[in-house]
């Protein structure tokens, strides 16, 4: 049988606490206990990347992590990427480049690409394709997604010089 545990962590820059079953997955806690349904479940087995979140700034599949493992850590979901309805430069690029079709994989892709750009502000195409290779998309063929990320990389490159 399972018991309940208390989890305290930072969720989208806010200190939060939840009492959850000890076998609950992080993705389910995010969706069910905090109502943040932007984190999607496409497979539940870490294969599709739709549930990607930032765990201490690193992209991870939240369907492969227990909720209690978030204790003491910093979690950012898609809802934490834009502030007050203002899109990040990357989100704006997704809109403008047509990188969104059905939208189900989009939150995970935005998270993976955000993590890449934090780590490597001016990635080349190969680095981009590698960084998003854990996020399956059945609609776009990835080309517009790559173009959106390249657009932000170009902005970053110009900022640098």
């Amino acid at each position: 049988m399972t018991g309940n545990v208390v989890v305290r962590f930072t969720l989208n820059n806010k200190e939060v606490e939840a009492v959850v079953p000890d076998n609950l997955l992080l993705a389910d806690m995010i969706r069910e206990h905090f109502g943040l349904t932007g984190t999607k479940i496409g497979c539940g087995m870490g294969e599709c990347g739709a549930c990607t979140i930032l765990f201490d700034g690193k992209p991870v599949n939240s369907c492969l992590i227990l909720a209690c493992q978030a204790n003491g850590h910093e979690i950012t979901t898609i809802e934490g990427i834009s502030s007050d309805g203002n899109l990040s430069a990357l989100q704006k690029a997704f809109v403008d480049e047509g990188a969104v079709q059905c939208g189900f994989c989009t939150p995970g892709l935005v998270i993976s690409a955000t993590a890449l750009l934090m780590d490597n502000p001016v990635p080349n195409e190969e680095e981009i394709r590698t960084a998003i290779s854990g996020n399956l998309c059945r609609c776009t063929g990835y080309q517009s997604v790559v173009a959106a990320i390249q657009k932000v990389a170009e902005i970053n490159r110009k900022k640098r010089f």
Partner: protein, 760 residues
């Protein structure tokens, strides 16, 4: 028509903002007070009588609310589709692994899992059949109440024997294609909510709300005015959410009716792959005759599609398969027979291309072999036989307009540097070898003669007093971008107002009349026309209002750029919002419904001739592939895809359809493979071993757009959501065959298969 303000522009789609912020709520994101969960208990055997179904132990699991069976259905255990064979629950016997037997309804998903383990079924196994050709042989076990031959279609034209006699060369071949799983990222799901006065509302992920409406009415025995179907934002479909949602919505509704609470039924990935439709596997036998100069003379084809156990959409899929079986070519003598023989496997259904990719693969491989035989360039061979305006198709349909194939050929050949590569690659040697291949395709837009009764659409448009507009249609956006494209058509239809002033309502069967299914690349064409009809009625009223303000006759009023003015004095104008306010104050009705019925088509199933479709979209695709001669691994490096889709409403979104469709086609060509065990059970129901292309597998896609307008489409639109996928397997197989110097006549081209080929 005046110059277009909004149509033809790459405006970002309106749903993109919510989607990038994670705000879009798909059906599984909705939780209602008192909501329970449901899951389907399905068969593990391909063909067996159900001797006992034991649910008593499962009912005692804490949290279990009900376990429902066929006998619990208040209406009929029958899912309305084309034939009357498909059921919500298996009847006395199961006919495929994955067939629903019972529905578990519980307070939680954990309780469902516990209950599942405690259900037991006693089966008596029956002989099963897994091959559609074997299925039609005398003495084969009969598995479907309507007989094993679920459908057959034919084409007859000219005199086949004469055609082959007059041919200098005859090419024969056998071609096989495998399943393709849709792999939409959002699995199937529905949420049923019992309403007041005995009604039922079902929210869900779907392509065809009016099919779902009929299904829910059938299982509950309710009339249509008591049932409301609302489409939730749909996370991909590709045909997979055409027929299946009737099953899931129907069962969710049964559960909600039974426990009188909201019930959500969503599938996990494993259940989705095991239980839902896929692209039909096929085996095709082709004979193609031609003169030495390349002129096509005769084509004979025998095509078998594997439909699985029930007919579902197979008769329509097989018809489209048959019509497209000889490619976009002039051929005087043709005989085609297409069959669907039932097998004890999951029913196949609609998948982007709808029966055509299988035969395009076969026919286009034939064309490459013919080219080699007569030592002619394969692109030139195709071009010299390609349909042009005024030609007749193999079904005897004359094409009076909108045949953009020649321009597609030119664009694709130039962009890919076809001639140079074609002559260079055969000389190359080494462990990695490159090849280049092409395919031509045509695609009948809309439902055609097979579905002319339901090729209709309705649209509702309402202007608010502040100049905003809301509209509703009966076709759906499943991710392809219909909402954006139709918003642009509304904006244009209302005299070029800003798309930001327009809001599309969720598709709701209580709001709009039956607009047929969202399939066959028909949404923009049919709903677009219905919208223009509604907009025309509104603009007539608004011109009356504008005339009062401009102090002229309504006939003198012009609209453009979101303004109303007289042609003689365009500098004096009233904005759309000002005129809307005036009309509102004067109680002019600015809410209208528009209608569209597709022009007539005809088909004679006896002669195999007729005007099959209202119009055709065309395409030429060229692939460059590289094969590792040691591992057998093939990669597609680049694909040039030139598509004639009529007027393009949004170029960037059209490009997105091409890129996405091509990459799905690359998956179909090289890696997507459903493994079955000896009982027809799917062995790889997950993305770990059913492999779809990732960002590292996708080739570069070079989109070329040709706009050969179709006069009866809105602004000249045809429709093309499916075509980018359709020719990919064919051109990739031709490129791979070119690279390895062996004929590859079977897809997917898995490394082990290519290695075997290269040994032989």
């Amino acid at each position: 028509m005046d110059e277009l303000c909004v149509v033809g522009k790459s405006i970002p789609r309106p749903d993109a903002w919510d989607k990038v912020m994670g705000k879009t709520r798909y059906v599984d994101d909705i939780t209602l007070p008192g909501m329970a969960y449901a899951a389907i208990y399905y068969s593990s055997l391909p063909h067996a009588e159900i001797k006992e179904l034991n649910i008593a132990k499962a009912l005692r699991v804490p949290g279990v609310l009900a376990i429902l069976r066929a006998s619990d259905i208040p209406g009929k255990n029958f899912i309305p589709m084309i034939k009357e064979d498909w059921t919500f629950f298996a009847k006395e016997k199961v006919v495929y692994p994955g067939e629903p037997i019972a529905l578990i309804v519980a307070e939680s998903k954990d309780a469902i899992m516990d209950a599942w383990e405690k259900i037991s079924v006693v089966y008596e196994e029956l002989p099963a059949i897994f091959d559609p050709e074997e299925s039609l042989k005398p003495g084969a076990p009969q598995i479907n109440p309507i007989g094993n031959l679920l459908s057959l279609h034919k084409i007859r034209t000219g005199d086949l024997e004469l055609g082959f006699m007059e041919s200098d060369v005859i090419i024969e071949g056998v071609y096989e294609t495998d399943y393709q799983e849709h792999a939409y990222l959002e699995t199937q799901g529905a949420l049923a909510v019992p309403g007041a006065e005995g009604g039922m509302t079902v929210y869900g992920s779907m392509q065809c709300p009016f099919y779902v409406l009929k299904g829910v009415c059938m299982i509950l025995g309710l009339p249509q005015h008591k049932v409301r179907i609302v489409q939730t934002p749909t996370g991909g479909a590709f045909g997979g959410k055409e027929d299946m949602p009737s099953l899931f919505a129907g069962l969710a509704a049964l559960a909600a009716w039974s426990i009188k609470r909201p019930v959500k039924l969503t599938l996990d990935r494993r259940a989705d792959i095991i239980m839902t439709s896929k692209r039909h596997p096929s085996r095709s036998y082709y004979r193609l005759g031609a003169k030495k100069d390349g002129t096509l003379m005769a084509c004979e084809a025998r095509v078998y599609l594997d439909p699985g156990a029930y007919a579902t959409l197979t008769p329509s899929v097989l018809w489209r398969c048959c019509i497209h079986s000889c490619g976009p070519y002039r051929i005087p003598h043709v005989k085609v027979d297409a069959y669907a023989g039932a097998t004890n496997k999951v029913p196949c259904g609609a998948y982007r291309g709808f029966g055509s990719p299988q035969v395009i693969f076969a026919m286009e491989r034939q064309m490459d072999k013919l080219a080699r035989e007569i030592a002619m360039d394969p692109l030139k061979l195709r071009a010299m036989n390609a349909l042009r305006q005024g030609d007749s198709t193999v079904t005897g349909q004359t094409l009076p307009w909108s045949v953009g194939l020649e321009e597609c050929i030119q664009k694709a050949a130039e962009a890919s540097r076809w001639e140079e590569k074609r002559s260079r690659y055969p000389a190359e040697d080494g462990y990695k070898r490159r090849g280049i291949g092409c395919s031509f395709l045509h695609y009948g837009v809309g439902l055609g003669a097979a579905g002319s009764r339901i090729d209709v659409a309705e649209a509702y448009v309402q202007i608010k007093p502040d100049g905003g507009a809301v509209f509703a249609v009966g076709t759906t956006d499943m991710g392809q971008g219909m909402q954006g494209v139709l918003t642009q058509i509304v904006a244009e239809g209302l005299g070029g107002i800003a798309p930001q002033q327009i809001q599309m309502l969720p598709v709701d069967t209580m709001q709009v009349g039956d607009s047929g299914p969202t399939v066959a690349s028909r949404a923009t064409y049919t709903s677009g026309n219905a919208i223009l009809d509604a907009c025309e009625k509104i603009m007539d009223e608004m011109k009356k209002g504008a005339a009062l303000l401009l102090k002229c006759e309504p006939s003198q009023v012009r609209a453009g750029g979101g303004k109303f003015f007289q042609e003689s004095a365009p500098e004096i104008f009233y904005t759309f919002a000002q005129v809307a306010a005036e009309c509102s104050a004067r109680h002019f009705g600015l809410t209208h419904t528009g209608y569209f019925k597709s022009p007539d088509t005809s088909w004679d199933s006896e002669t195999g001739q007729g005007k099959a479709y209202v119009a055709y979209s065309f395409g030429v695709q060229i692939a460059e592939a590289e094969v590792d001669m040691q591992t057998g691994e093939a990669r597609v490096l680049d694909i040039w895809a030139a598509h004639d889709l009529g007027k393009v409403v949004n170029p960037k979104m059209a490009q997105g359809q091409i890129e996405g469709g091509v990459v799905q086609g690359v998956g179909y060509s090289l890696m997507e493979f459903i493994a079955l065990d000896g009982k027809g059970r799917i062995q790889n129901p997950s993305f770990s071993n059913y492999i779809i292309p990732t960002s590292l597998d996708a080739p570069l896609v070079h989109s070329e757009i040709v706009e050969s307008v179709y006069p009866e489409g809105p602004f000249g639109v045809k429709g093309f959501g499916e075509t980018p996928l359709m020719g990919v397997a064919a051109c990739v197989a031709n490129a791979v065959s070119d690279a390895i110097g062996r004929d590859v006549d079977k897809i997917p081209m898995l490394p082990e298969r290519l290695l075997e080929k290269m040994k032989g």
